[in-house]
């Protein structure tokens, strides 16, 4: 990671920037999603747009791409004022966009998918030839006749990029492109982006991964709460200084203490296999894993590789075929429902806080009842709810996890994502469970809240509990995990000590290096 971005080259019009968004304001109801934001992007520049969730990055990009119109402010393209009425107009100007979520048809080939997005008039054979040329030129190997269903997430992203490149864009917008990629795939993407920039194409790169931004970007525009806070040269900044600009305050450093010898196994998965009824689901295949008292084990992997199914199998939302496939403290409980498993002193935090971990229209104290009704400090007695007890739990969680809210007991939906996540995690941690399973503990959460949550997980493990963390965030995993396993297409690798795990090795595993050969063609990972 010691390479430097190539210098700005091939700028066709040094006088006028390629794109300028001047004083953009966008108001939704009472919310100022963009408040006087100005962004200037030169040809041949890779420009990072940084900000936490809800900072207004997506709104700004949608305005540039024509899917939203600004309340006030204007766009200038090569120095000329323009109105981008819709995405088609953006494409006509030469703006291409690669979305975080792909829009591809699984049942069609690469060529067919790309043909759907292009203006008619090009023969299929001719198009296939051009795809081959362009993808080879830019180091994005693609077989034009491959079925999308058979491709990995990284390859699917390549289709989207090639689709944009065929239209010879002057500006390429990429929304969190590496969120779904293995480290190796990300490296390959950076080579392509640098090549594009060297040819004079501008790239607007949206990310919250600061190391990456330092590595490939020439300029960075940082937003916070819809306002422009800084425009910096990422080379001159550290990841910590960028984070401070994004968050607006110092981010607490998570204190890890290692060295305690793990105790007895508390959570064991033994040959866990499970089919799926959901056409987009992933089957779990013969998963073995042990989490011992006092340690945090992390399951890494690209989204949609069976994380949700694994969580449901451990929590008891889905029952396993044989009880012995899931063991809590040695007791086979694969056939027990989630309530019985909670009574075994286990606790769970699902990925989606709204609608799964909490009911949005219920108050926080009611949401305490959601997971404490069968356990805990008399929240329910003789079938009747004790509101005072639930309120006491809420107050305790609020205090311990610094949950910020307007009133003591608001509806869950009134909280910001970070604060609600602190509540949902805190609600379980406060029970001091012997086993805690958390799916994406800090997904979409600001850096301050993430630090609080990670610290709580570490402290719980050090107090003698077994903690299993399922996460896509490799930085988070290396920060807190004692051992790391990788899930890919429903198969789990062996858990390896974090100190023995490198980014390269994890990347190979995320791409499926451990999958058994005889099962490799079985299912496709749903994006």
């Amino acid at each position: 990671m010691n390479e430097q971005p190539s210098s700005v080259a091939g700028a066709e019009n040094a006088a006028a920037p390629l794109l300028q968004a001047r004083n953009i304001v966008k108001i939704f109801g009472d919310l100022r999603a963009n408040d006087d934001v100005t962004l200037t992007l030169k040809a041949g520049e890779i420009h990072a747009l940084l900000g936490e969730n809800g900072a207004g990055k997506s709104t700004l990009v949608k305005i540039i791409y024509g899917s939203l119109q600004p309340t006030s402010g204007a766009l200038y393209w090569k120095g000329q004022p323009v109105t981008v009425a819709n995405p088609a107009a953006a494409r006509d100007l030469g703006i291409g966009m690669v979305f975080q979520h792909f829009s591809l048809f699984d049942a069609l080939t690469v060529t067919q998918n790309i043909a759907l997005a292009l203006p008619p008039g090009l023969g299929m054979a001719e198009l296939a030839a051009r795809i081959r040329t362009v993808s080879a030129d830019y180091g994005l190997p693609l077989r034009p006749d491959a079925l999308v269903a058979d491709l990995s997430v990284g390859e699917r992203q390549r289709i989207e990029i090639v689709r944009c490149l065929l239209q010879e864009p002057r500006l390429l917008i990429m929304d969190e492109p590496t969120a779904v990629l293995t480290p190796q795939e990300a490296d390959q993407l950076f080579v392509t982006l640098k090549r594009l920039a060297s040819e004079g194409c501008g790239v607007l790169y949206i990310s919250h991964r600061l190391e990456e931004v330092k590595r490939v970007c020439h300029e960075a525009t940082i937003l916070r709460h819809g306002k422009l806070v800084a425009r910096v040269d990422p080379q001159q900044e550290t990841a910590a200084s960028l984070a401070n600009l994004m968050v607006g305050s110092e981010v607490a450093v998570v204190k890890t203490t290692r060295g305690l010898a793990p105790g007895e196994p508390l959570l064991e998965l033994a040959g866990l296999s499970m089919g799926t009824d959901d056409p987009f689901g992933v089957s779990l295949k013969n998963i073995d894993l042990t989490v011992r008292a006092g340690e945090i084990v992390a399951v890494a992997g690209v989204a949609g590789n069976g994380q949700g199914e694994l969580f449901a199998a451990i929590s008891g939302e889905t029952l396993t075929a044989e009880a012995s496939q899931v063991l809590f403290a040695g007791a086979a409980c694969g056939g027990e429902h989630i309530t019985s498993r909670r009574r075994r002193n286990a606790a769970f935090v699902p990925e989606e806080r709204i609608g799964h971990g909490a009911v949005p229209t219920f108050t926080l104290s009611e949401n305490v009842v959601l997971t404490h009704h069968a356990i805990g400090e008399g929240v329910v007695r003789n079938g009747l709810i004790n509101p005072q007890a639930a309120q006491a739990v809420n107050a305790k969680v609020t205090e311990m996890f610094d949950v910020r809210k307007g009133t003591p007991d608001p509806e869950a939906r009134a909280l910001s994502g970070g604060n609600l996540q602190k509540f949902v995690v805190g609600r379980e941690v406060i029970l001091q469970p012997r086993i805690l399973v958390v799916n994406q503990p800090t997904w979409g959460v600001d850096a301050g809240a993430a630090a609080v949550i990670r610290q709580a997980l570490i402290d719980l493990a050090r107090s003698g509990s077994a903690v299993l963390v399922i996460s896509q965030d490799l930085d988070e995993i290396f920060e807190i995990a004692d051992r790391i396993a990788v899930i890919s297409r429903g198969e789990l690798s062996d858990a390896v000590g974090a100190e023995d795990m490198s980014l390269e090795r994890i990347g190979l595993l995320m791409a499926g290096a451990h999958e058994k050969a005889n099962q490799a063609g079985g299912t496709a990972a749903a994006p």
């Binding site: 108001i27 119109q69 600004p70 309340t71 909670r342 799964h356 229209t361 009611e366 009842v369 997971t371």
Partner: protein, 358 residues
Amino acid sequence: MKIILEKRSQRSRAMALLSPLLAIAITVVTGGIIFASLGLDPAKALYVYFVEPVTTLWSIEELIVKAAPLVLIGAGLAICYSANVWNIGAEGQLTIGALFGSAIPVYFTTWQSPLTLVMMLVLGGFGGAMFAAIPAALKNRFGANEILTSLMLVYVAQLLLDWLVRGPWRDPQGYNFPQSVPFEGWQLLPLLGEGRVHIGAIFAVIAVIALAVMMGRSLRGFEIRVVGNSPRAGAFAGFNQKRVVWFTFMLSGALAGLAGICEVAGPSGELQPSISPGYGFTAIIVAFLGRLHPFGVLLGGVLMALTYLGGESAQITMNLPNAVTGVFQGLLLFFLLASDVLMRYRIRIGSVMRGSAL
């Protein structure tokens, strides 16, 4: 130009409670306009419709007689709808409840003991619950839409009633009229006071209080609200969605069945081909008018009972057809749903380009 419904950023609790009052006000105004267009004096017509029925003791008693089944059924439906379970077939459950309960006087005509009445009431509730279990089973087992199945079963129940009172259950001494033997003694509900008010009204009040406690304080009520609001959170809490479907359907069915047997053992005193002026359907409006809260249902039930009485007095005093009742009930439901939508959304007319609201 387009009409756009824009979600309001916040919903106020006060407005949610105000919505039914607003709907009632608009219904009265619209009703006045309809009367005027029929060439009637709107003030007098509205007086006859809404005020006259509560000016005499007799008509207040009649109001209670009509409100009792509406409240009983509406309270059960409110629980159902809170669970996102759409029982539209309360009219059928009412009919089957009436049939089950009436089996006692029909087959044991001479049995006279307090137990007779208890048995009739228990069977009434049981019959309604069993009939409601059919759409619940179809939904849980096959995923069949309960709105359709419960509604279609209403007609099954009504045809069954019709066949019984014209066929096997017809009173042999009834001069061939389509009706059962008249109920007597302990086969009839005790009356409260001198008039027609019977202990069904007390059942309704007890049901309202019991359900309010259940929904507000018990884990069972919490389970119903969670599953209705957010099924995935319900599964995460360890609640079984199918169990909630069974419970809410059979509870509302039992209450409708109880209302049914109270109707035949009370005001009617016998089985007839028609035992309810659509209480089971009107109770749907009552449930929504009451904001799906048992205490709200109590007020909503009284108001809807008034529309029945108003319809009758408009018929007598002003020679208006009985359909006026249906018109008012429909207007009220329409305006209620409209106010609810406008509480949650605001209307914006114009192009998509404009950023700010009205």
